[in-house]
Amino acid sequence: MLRKILAVDDSALIHQMYKLFLSRYKNCKLISAMNGLEALDKLGQEDGIDLILLDINMPVMNGLEFLQRVQKEPAYQAIPVIIISTEGKEEDTIRGLKMGAKGYVKKPFQASELHGLIEKITTAG
């Protein structure tokens, strides 16, 4: 059951895309954050976040640092993370995967691709 998805990205356009791709997907609620720090705030405020979509390159606190902190918290460790990768920054993505992210999708991506990956990750448990 996918109740809440936390999307972390500093681009308003990407958040709009998420809204379009995900708002009718499995009835889930979309929560957005513009950087890692905000995302940590949202984790604290919102109950029951089931998935995190994570951009790496953001101001204030980037994705890898956010991920590092999240992995240290028992409350959040288990939340599956999908890294939103960009061309040219593959090594960041791999680093994130090594830190515990469950998968990644490269920008630009199609809705179906995102859905597919979410499916695989959330059913694998």
Partner: protein
Amino acid sequence: MSDFQISPELLNIYLEDARAHVEALDHALLALEREGPDPEVVAGVLGPLHTLKGNSGMMGFAGIKDYVHRLEDVFERIGQGTVTFSGALFDRLFAGASALRDAVEQACRQRAEVRNLAGERAVLDAILRQAPEPAASPAAPALPSPSAPAAAAIRAGQPAAPPVPSASTTAATYVSGGSSMVRVDFGQLDHLLNLVGELIIHRTKLHELGRELAERRGSGPDTLELLSAVHQVASVSTQLQETVMDIRMLPIRHVFERFPRLVRDLARQQGKDIELILEGESTRIDKAIIDEIGEPLVHMIRNSVDHGIETPATRVARGKTPTGTILLSAMQESNHVLITIMDDGGGIDAGAVRRKAVDRGLLKPDETVPDRELVQLIFSQGFSTAESVSDLSGRGVGLDVVLKSIERLNGLVEVETVPGVGTKFIIQLPLTLAIIAALLVEVGGRTYALPLGSIVETLKFRASDVHTINGRETLRIRERIVPLVRLDAFFGLPAPQEAARYAVILGRGDKRVGLVVNRLRGQQEVVIKALDPAVSGIAFALAGATIMGDGRVVLILDVAAFFEGRRQALAHGRAATAPAGQS
């Protein structure tokens, strides 16, 4: 090429962001050109470029995405210090930035990539080829300063180390995109303002009812409670109104920001050396005005560069510094904003203006007009004293267009000049377009609203007070002769039963015009609602409309329309019998 549909909403977001990103690129280039290599500037521009790259990819604009990727590479090399700076380099980079902006705008207009950036990409490739690979060395010295995003630090070759928390200095570059701000669609804000406006109308009604009730039933405890509650509603709704109005106000910096680049490009093209000084960028003004004032300002600055500032050689010959200065400043004064564009160029030659004016029949050869008034003629239709029409100023886009744009915003513009010393344009704009104090008048059985700010006085007159001069009805008010416009005739409305007796005297700077109406119906604050372009394009002398408490629509008159006739009168050297028909 693409067969998918991008929604207008998405396109808007992309475009707005993209514009800001390209702007950041421009600023970074300006800073690097002025100050030399600076890791902070480089770090500051890599972020926007990265986001633009990602966004462009998502929109399916592969060519733009690719180009931005190259730009990122170029800047990274600049940060590593392996790119040699030269005037030619920056010319190429600036050209690239312009091409990028162009490509983005076109892609958004056509909803598909139209502009091919292959040529520009090749230019960047050439730059990268010439910049030697940085010498193999440990990460730190070649890195951008520690304030760079942590990702860069990671990439630099400390695989095992945990990511370094980014210092907060980078945050400063992004503050407006950071977490304390919310992106709001301007249409929503307008809607909010509409709702607030209606709330105020209803609370006024509530207030009236409260008073009536108090009169009828005396001031028992019920009545007092009601009045007290109404008072609360009034107080809160006023605060609400003020807050919403405040949110719409943005610093004029948004408009000013693109001018340094513009001046730089223009100056280089003309072989002139010009410094642009900005002042008062934090002065706030309504977003609706900000959206409209950009273009007129561009024209006026171009004017200063083209016709105002002289070439360095001429300047030196005149005993001036080779570098010319343009000062663009904004300042708030009571309930309006003053924008000044001042240059220390050659000034406007009153003699040339006079010759041209006579030439175009705007002035009779023997007519004497003081120089001060004479120069205002440069705002007349199709007027240009340039010997050659430089296509920098754009053909046919003269100051008359600028004047119209400014008047459409309920603004004024004036020019002052001292030959050989310089020229100063002063634009006066209202703080906001959204709510104005208005005088309601009745004409031909219908109610209209007039912006109070343009009204000098109202008076009652007798038929015998009207003198017809050169076929034009006028009224003598103290020492002045004020031309009259009969609104019912002007609008083609039926003539009133009772003879009209009231004149509303409108003032614009030095000029006066009297509007003849049947009745005066009091003052009120009204929320201006835009008229659909289908109507405003056709209708004459309408600035908008407003909705009364009872739901009635009342049209708001555009004061400028009544002065136009006047200007035409001066221009043609004879009084017009009726306001010059525009349609």
